[in-house]
Symmetry: C2
Subunit: 488 residues, 2 copies
């Protein structure tokens, strides 16, 4: 039997109309207000989507209008393709065509990109949020229920090889992700979630989902900025925040020894393993950091360290959340404790598959388990440690080298504020690691190499250290290791 | 696609092995310990159930052994029939036959009942917990996953007419019930739930479920006893409790003006409408009472007042929880605000139906909505007020009379500690209400009738007031109004 629930936003507005739903700069909206705006926005969108399509794409940054459009689309049951605003027109074009999108809504900061796009997309309506606001609002049929098996959102991921693939995320995927998280970190009356990551990524979108499901405010930031974040975390206004490593580094560097407000109870650190030295600083300064592991295909976190284990298992991403499972495979066999292998996941938060990709789906799913391509191990107590993304694995002279391990060492050097490592082709060894660092002052390559030699097996020591102004990162601020080689 | 999750108890033991799971008198068990005991119990049960059956019944009071048996059965994927220990042998026999139970496990306080039963049940194995404990434990295949569509528990309800019906409760029903509750009242690190209601009723069983899903302790009581409850609520050890009206009356009478510990944050009041005077006392004494509405068919609460509305909507059962819906119907039409009608409910916590009762199922479900037979209305803001169970409605001279309304008045009389009202056949009016009261001192009938006349329309004033030692109540301590007439 198909599982249905009431329309989430309508339900939340009915249950908690007066509670704060969204805070953006100095503006505040309640759930009652947000549902009204969403319904009105739905009334403006209705009729724009050609009858043959059930999908619309949005190309929008973190603004309240983005929230209205997303919520408005869901009121109508339209599947929403989340386009990454940092992509080039040709990259976007591919995703728009591949997803068979029938409508594009964009925010005006992206007009240049859209102008390029529109030449190639004469047959698809493209409308800016400003134009949308000017349209008359009809009174469309608002969805009374959400069927959990229905697709809610689609986000593209690149994977190791080949063209980007559209990850299908159902209402059920989002629900179970939110449920898994609340059973890990709890839900308190004063909770509020800071969203300084893009809503076009699952890290941001999942915060909007939780806000509706839990009935708590989202504090939405247009862009991450450590000064504002530190002010919010020190004020007591924020209890939970999602962040990636580089954000945490910048926040802590700026904040210094000043403690955050005690109401700030959870810093979910995702987007790749957090270097141990940074975790040590958090521990020392009593910053409540919980390392997480997740991806677009798992609708955000699938494993997270729990509050009670956060200090004793520093460096681990914890255990798979209540609704989910995770196993480590070496070939056809499940790995023993401490034995590294590929990470497989399963659970109702895991995507039903990629859009129109029978081959990739067949390759990615085995007996209901999704093959992540990532590498890790479990310790004797079942805590998961993420070693690296498989695509970034460097194989050098038959030895496995994990960039994260080297980056951790580089970051522990007092002059280095950011570090990335990748494999560069080498005649003798196949590949060798190169290190890329960001530092305020000029740093001597020899000094860093000597520092590494003291701390790493010789085959792991980078062949070269290259100082750069910034590292390549994606919209979620994740380090894009495969772009590092372009910096040489 | 079928939704599965990991085996809940195994998962909880994996996530939080050291957390307290169960407290009974002076004994305490962690989730790690409980899972081990459950697995061992499963090893003792395995092989007892004939191959042709997938159902076992338990006839057990609130003890740790009951918990081990329930959890043990679930490890094996056996559907569990929860028998009410207060029933007579002939009533039990009907349920055992109707449910096609293949095994009965009972606790030794019920040996007399079982001796009677066993004569009629030569073909079904019946085993006491003591005998079970003596059996050697095999190492059976523990279920790795729970499919949410699978039946987990079966409980019999009587309904208005006809033989009792077995309500099917799936794993999904229990999951969504727990999820709906946590999204209403939150989840804090120090939470613990006091279970002073029978685990053979959904009110008690749902507490065990939440304990596992949320990872919080259950404080299990063999029997409700106001002195012990008051001590626990005053100690800070309990944050949440489920209770019915008569329990709350007794607790408050004993506790007097002494405040409970501030950690006690939620008293869920179920099992029928709570009289307004009692709610007023709670409000005055700052007892955090939240009226709920639910039944076996909804796997416990389906509507509950939220913390923010608990004072301003005293007397309401709140709104349907996040995953659920509730509507009031008058015939084929949805009722207007304040218009009374029959309550229909829908949601993933609602039973898929009664066991082997095609006719009752066809009559109870309309377009996915379950017809509860209960009467209520919504106010202009959508808050639900439960008037009464339809079966208890008294129709007198064409006027509708709701027993609860009269009981509320009787209870507001300072001498009356418990009250029940039912309709007694009358030549002139069809039915007339009779009042049954419990009071410490002898009370004059005329005095009470005069008291009622001052407060009720003349047709609502009971024809007679009968003082009794105790009122008929079922295992969940719910008033059984239809048995009142036997007290005349």
């Amino acid at each position: 039997m198909e599982t249905t629930t009431p329309n989430w936003l309508q339900k939340r507005a009915d249950l908690s109309p007066e509670r704060t739903a969204l805070i953006f700069n100095d503006q505040t909206w309640t759930f009652g207000e947000i549902f009204e705006i969403a319904a009105k926005t739905a009334g403006k969108i209705a009729g724009l989507l050609p009858g043959s399509s059930r999908r619309a794409a949005i190309l929008m940054n973190n603004t309240p209008e983005t929230v209205w459009v997303i919520y408005g689309l869901w009121q109508l049951g339209i599947e929403t393709v989340f386009l990454n605003c940092r992509l080039t027109a040709s990259e976007l074009l591919y995703q728009i065509k591949d997803s068979e999108t029938g409508l594009i809504i964009y925010d005006c900061s992206l007009t240049d990109t859209v102008n390029e796009l529109s030449k190639a997309l004469a047959d698809i309506p493209i409308i800016s949020v400003n134009e949308l606001a000017e349209r008359p609002a009809s009174e469309p049929a608002i969805r009374k229920e959400f069927a959990l098996a229905d697709v809610c959102s689609i986000m593209y991921t690149s994977g190791t090889t080949g063209k980007p693939k559209g990850v299908l995320q159902t209402y059920g995927n989002h629900w179970w992700s939110a449920a898994g998280s609340v059973l890990n970190i709890g839900l308190q009356e004063n909770d509020s979630w800071l969203c300084a990551v893009p809503v076009f990524h699952i890290s941001g979108l999942s915060i909007l989902m939780r806000s509706i499901i839990y009935g708590i405010p989202v504090i939405l930031m247009e862009k991450f900025d450590e000064k504002t974040v530190n002010r919010l975390l020190s004020s007591g206004q924020v209890t939970i925040m999602s962040a990636v490593t580089s954000m945490i580094s910048r926040m802590l560097a700026k904040q210094g020894d000043q403690p955050y407000h005690p109401a700030f109870r959870c810093l979910l650190a995702g987007g790749g393993p957090v270097p141990k030295p940074l975790l040590d600083i958090c521990k020392e300064r009593k910053v409540p950091v919980f390392q997480t592991y997740g991806m677009t295909e798992t609708s955000s976190q699938i494993a997270t360290l729990s509050p009670e284990d956060s200090l004793k298992k520093l460096g681990s991403a914890g255990k798979p959340l209540f609704p989910s499972q995770l196993k480590i495979m070496t070939g056809e066999k499940e790995a023993k404790p401490l034995e590294e292998g590929e990470i497989f996941v399963k659970g109702p938060n895991v995507t039903p598959g990629y859009l129109n990709r029978d081959e990739a789906n067949a390759a990615s799913f085995k007996d209901g388990w999704f093959s992540t391509g990532d590498l890790g191990f479990k310790d004797e107590e079942g805590f998961v440690y993420i070693l690296d993304r498989r695509s970034d694995l460097i194989i050098s002279g038959g030895e496995n080298i994990y960039p994260a391990e080297i980056e951790e060492i580089l970051l522990s050097h007092e002059e280095v504020s950011e570090a990335g490592v990748t494999g560069i082709p080498d005649e003798k060894w196949g590949h060798v690691p190169y290190g890329f660092i960001v530092a305020e002052k000029p740093v001597k390559e020899d000094e860093i190499l000597a520092f590494c030699r003291e701390r790493l097996a010789s085959y792991k020591v980078p062949k070269r250290i290259i100082q750069v102004k910034q590292l390549p990162r994606n919209g979620a601020n994740k380090l894009m290791r495969r772009l590092l080689s372009k910096l040489i």
